[in-house]
């Protein structure tokens, strides 16, 4: 006579086996299924914004030894790179070089060191790392830049890929201002099925359309990729003031003066009585 417990165990084993089979079947037909989503795909920068955290999560059909690479990439922008030189005893900015259309934000998450996941060629082929796609460095002038963006670019020199030192400097500077994170933050997975990463947006996060890419690596090759969108916008009062300043700059300037004169006068009156 077969015990009830043993019978139940057999059923459980059968179900598990079936489930594994069902999961494995599409993997043989198609690359591998992968879904990804964000806890919030719209980030508003309001007056009280001081950085924020998002959860990037999803599911994949993994096998033991598989790896995931997550990339959060901000809108492309020109990045001026300046080098200080000593002239007449003081440190001054020397030549300005411009990295063309580089990602303004680039954070990498992975289940392991990138070098352990795949070799350089495979990573480059899968477009991992902002320098993988061959960023170009141009001698040029940042025209009309206002210290925090808003400029254009006038190229005056040859286009190069940049020296190793220039590339390292770009990565280092962008890492220090919190906009790039090329050394991947480790993420953990559950039973090769679920993943979850915590994305911290700094307070100086660039606005615009972002792309979130999730890559599934097996044996050093990217077998599947899923992308999802995210956008970061100024909102509320801070958006209003920014638009006012940029679109009606004459009125903004006059308003700033009237505001200053009125508050200065008010302060004088208030403290004369007090």
């Amino acid at each position: 006579m077969i015990g009830y417990g043993t019978w139940l165990g057999a059923v459980r084993q059968l179900t598990l086996g079936l489930a594994v089979l069902l999961l494995a079947m599409p993997a043989m037909a198609a690359p591998s299924r992968l879904v990804a989503d964000l806890s919030d795909s719209h980030v508003d920068i309001t007056s009280s914004y001081h950085g924020t955290e998002l959860i990037l999560f999803g599911a994949y059909e993994g096998a033991p030894g598989d790896d995931l690479v997550l990339i959060v990439e901000g809108p492309a922008t020109d990045i001026a790179q300046r080098r200080k030189e000593k002239k007449a005893g003081i440190w001054v900015n020397g030549e300005t070089l411009v990295w063309q259309q580089a990602p303004s934000f680039y954070h990498v998450f992975a289940t392991d060191d990138l070098a352990a996941i795949a070799d350089k060629d495979a990573l480059s082929k899968a477009d991992v790392g902002p320098l993988a796609r061959g960023l170009m460095l141009v001698a040029g002038e940042a025209q009309g830049s206002n210290g925090h963006g808003g400029g254009a670019l006038a190229t005056t020199g040859a286009v190069t890929a940049g020296t190793a030192a220039q590339q390292a400097g770009l990565s280092r500077n962008m890492n220090n201002n919190g906009l790039w994170q090329l050394q991947p933050a480790l993420i953990s997975t559950q039973q090769d099925m679920l993943f979850r990463a915590q994305l911290s947006l700094p307070s100086n996060v660039p606005t615009g359309d972002y792309l979130v890419r999730v890559l599934h690596f097996r044996d050093g090759v990217a077998i599947s990729e899923k992308t999802t969108d995210m956008n970061i916008r100024k909102a509320g009062l801070s958006a209003l003031i920014y638009r006012f300043a940029h679109e009606y700059s004459v009125f903004y300037g006059l308003f700033a003066i009237v505001f200053a004169v009125a508050s200065g006068w008010l302060a004088a009156v208030a403290f004369r009585r007090g």
Binding site: T77, I90, G149, P206, A245, A260, V261, A268
Partner: protein, 304 residues
Amino acid sequence: MYIYLPIAEVSMHIGIIIGLGGGVGFLSGLFGVGGGFLMTPLLIFFGIPPAVAVATEANQIVASSVSGVLAHMRRGNVDFKMGGILMVGGVIGSSLGVALFSFLREIGQIDLVIQLSYVVFLGIIGMLMLSESIRTIIRSRKSGAVRGKLHQHNWLHGLPLKMRFRRSKLYISAIMPLLLGAFVGILAAIMGVGGGFIMVPAMIYLLGMPTSVVVGTSLFQIIFVTANVTLLQSIQTQTVDFVLAGLLLFGAVIGAQFGSRAGALLRGEQLRGLLALMVLGVCIKIGYDLVIQPEDLLSVELLR
């Protein structure tokens, strides 16, 4: 509580902004100066982009000068005719200054020029003030001062376009105040200051104006120079952050009240000596940063 500054595009703790305003306001009330030469470097130190710091500080100085000039007007300590000519020069000079500012930013040298201007002009003014106040302190101990002429006559008094300035008891060429206004206007636009720390001694020693009217007249023309900078920077570079300016002002107004009360406890030459030390301190700090090797020779800027 943090506040995201819409034009500076950084978030800062509201307590830090008001505290900065209050601290600099206290010192400006204590010494009777605008405090732009302290505020602009401090804002840059706290991570506000230099261009935004300079333009926003101009906006704040409009407010603090209006607030300050009203008391001087009530006492009749403003020479409007002299102020008007200085203002014309100042508006021309600050317009040139804003254009120069844009040009220097394009070639990536604005930070250097701001720093050098601070080192040179704070250094000169600080040294002059310090030696003057030390001499006064020594002389007051010896006592028995010799009464000199009202002012020295020199080649400047030979220039054409002579005008009579009743309030200042002067009959001098209009070219001098015009050039002085223009020169200080250029510096005001580049350094993010009102320029009182140069204007006031220049009015006394160069133009020979009586000390009773210099501060009021200087404040009067600073209003127009900084208003002009505010407008031009708003149009050309969109770097005036009036949220930041308003919060700084709020702190500064309160700080200035305590400062002027504390100032009544100290003697004039002691105050000037302390102010001179502070001016030299800022000069040395900025000069030191120019001379030592930066930690990282490379830097980046997003152009967008």
